[in-house]
């Protein structure tokens, strides 16, 4: 067995172990929640069926799952980009709110433009809005020495109030009673991808963005310097990387990606408008996804699909079996705790006899500082 394992390169073995731990965590958490359902007295079979139907029951349900997948995977990739550079962007939620707001402003204020101009403009505005909020945090971190996670978290809390004010005040729809904006112009909304579902074309953009992020991180000099900064800032500085600049860039990029997620939540939503709380915790759930994916951008796709399915299936669970969606939230929390708690399982390196392998070179550069 030891022989067999030795055939797989070490880095791959580590990745495999990581994937195994993530899957085990999910299975354990799901099993635990099934136990809880059984304990609460609801029929387990019905609950499982409701869950399944919630995700795959009809094209509409499946479309809704994929709709939830979009912001989740974007937020997760945002976390990955920052985290690989050693920065903790806890404020993805706020950047989603900021991006959604700027996208909505562009979508509301301009009219008469063709879709080919208006829609990209609104999405870019979303990215810029997210990046602006992330930029404040990055400035505070780089220039004023404020912890990145404290700055991003506080900005999120401020942004929540700001969106609530905008949607109830200056941007409110004309009658001024609903506490949300009117829908953005049709030319700024993503066209429907699958008829009779909520799925729109933005999912294509998402896949492209994820692939680009994975490529840049893995195969370019910028990505290399970013990973080096996260893995070993001292070494990065010594080899000529401007680590502070990399940190600022990573935070802003991460925030811009979250901003795109926000723009999707406005421009691809059925209502197509800005309402308080439209971010619906996607920013924090994105962190869960990134953890499950062990900070690998490509692995974010299956992980986000899984959590989107949980979210979507949980809704039907509540409607049909009467089990509160709180259970799904709790399941996610258990997954995080298991994955975080087992990081040492993946990172461990067996101490070897001194003569077996002299002087292992540092090879952990390909992994982020935070697992």
């Amino acid at each position: 067995m030891r022989r067999l394992a030795a055939l797989i390169p070490r880095a791959d073995r580590r990745a495999l172990r990581g994937a195994a731990v993530s899957m085990l965590a999910v299975v354990l958490a799901l099993a635990a929640s099934l136990l809880v359902i059984a304990w609460s007295g609801a029929p387990v079979g019905d609950a499982a069926r409701a869950m399944w139907d919630g995700v795959f029951g009809s094209p509409a349900q499946f479309g809704a799952t994929l709709t939830k997948f979009v912001p989740l995977v974007l937020a997760a990739v945002g976390w990955v980009v920052a985290s690989r550079a050693g920065r903790l962007n806890v404020g993805l939620e706020g950047q989603i709110l900021a991006g959604g707001t700027t996208a909505a402003v562009v979508g509301l204020s301009l009219s008469g433009l063709p879709m080919a101009v208006h829609l990209p403009l609104a999405v870019l505005a979303g990215a810029a809005g997210g990046a602006a909020l992330g930029g404040i945090a990055a400035w505070l971190w780089a220039r004023r020495g404020v912890n990145d996670f404290i700055a991003t978290l506080l900005l999120t809390l401020i942004m929540t109030q700001a969106v609530s004010w905008l949607a109830n005040g200056p941007l409110e729809e004309p009658t001024g009673t609903l506490g949300q904006t009117s829908p953005v112009a049709d030319s700024a909304r993503w066209p429907v991808l699958l008829a009779r579902t909520t799925l729109r074309w933005d999912i294509v953009l998402v896949v492209v963005l994820v692939l680009v992020a994975a490529y840049v991180l893995r195969r370019t000099v910028v990505g290399y310097r970013l990973r080096l900064t996260g893995a070993n800032p001292t070494a990065a500085k010594a080899t000529g990387t401007r680590t502070r600049l990399v940190g600022v860039g990573a935070l802003c990029t991460s925030a811009a990606i979250a901003g795109v997620a926000g723009s999707s939540l406005v421009l691809a939503a059925p209502a197509g408008n800005l309402a308080p709380g439209f971010s619906a915790n996607y920013g924090f759930d994105g962190i869960v996804v990134a953890l499950l994916a062990r900070n690998n951008p490509l692995a974010c796709i299956p992980a986000a699909l899984l959590l989107a399915a949980l979210r979507q299936g949980g809704g039907l669970l509540e409607a049909r079996v009467g089990i509160s969606s709180g259970l799904v939230t709790a399941t996610q929390a258990v997954v995080i705790l298991l994955v975080t708690g087992s990081a040492w399982l993946v990172d461990r390196r067996r101490s070897r006899p001194a003569d077996a392998r002299p002087a292992q070179p540092q090879e952990r550069v390909s992994e982020g500082a935070h697992s």
Partner: protein, 360 residues
Amino acid sequence: MNPFDVALFAAAIRLSVPLLLAALGELISERAGVINIGLEGMMLFGAYAAFLTAYATGSVGLGLAAGIGLGLVLGAIMAFVSVTLRGDQIVVGVALNLLAAGVTLFLYRLQFGGTQPTTVKMEPYAVPLLSDIPGIGPVLFHQLPLVYLAYVLGPVVAWVLYRSRRGLRLRSAGEKPEVLDSTGVDVVRVQWGAVLAAGALAGLAGAFLSVGQVGLFAENMTAGRGFLALAAVVFGQWRPYGVVAACLVFGFTDALQLRLQSMGAVPQQVWIALVVVGVLVAAVGVWRARRSGSPLRWVLLGAVLCVAVGGLGAALVPGFTLPSQFWLSLPYVLSLVALATSARRVRAPAMLGRALPARS
């Protein structure tokens, strides 16, 4: 109509107490190098446990004990994953928040299915003699018993942190754990203790919200107070009396905000008070700048802003209102500004958010 009456100040004290309990716990934990983003979740769990126990037993004391107990359990989870297993503190905190939101929602709906039962709650206790002092008596000494506990907690925490051996170890764990380790102290144990204390206090803060104040539980009843307490630690610049002051300021703005919501236009007195605050900030800033050479321009900028906004508001007063969201976000803005303006001199504990180095 003058909004600054006895009821306002009494409400300010009442609103700052749960913040104070949670924030002082968080302070202990952060000084030991462990940031606990899951404060909100711990409070929510504490509120729920306290409510359930009080509902089942009819005893406020048992309810509070249950809040503390569950807080300890959550602290143990936090400490085990983030200190012993060296998992990422931020991520564990996010998990605890999700866990609390999910579990309390699930159990509450399961047990009470849409109804909202009430249970016993703590009764105010007027301290003899002291509560008869005109002015401050009814504000300070006609409160819930837990409030009196909160009064002494700040000095106690300050004493423990700066005057006891335990506190020295705790602060070293947050600044230079390897030094503490080399003196033969188990750093892991020190951090465990700090996180447990934070959990217990957060649980108590949550219990104060449910059993202490209202005698009922509501979904997401902490409503961001955990994050507010986090901000208070930042605004208080990681010092016990700073944290106490921050909690009082936040509690006061919250009380003022609630009052103003029912008043329509912002009364003249608020603007005048703002001008006074600006002048005070400027005076204190000048005084401190001469003593320690802190960057004066930021302090003065803040003071000038206060005076300008206050003056403008007083001039334009009829019909001018500020949205409630302005007041709700004010604590966070203040915290960020405080951090940004004093960052070089006042900084977070060095190990904040970072895992201990592995022992060879």
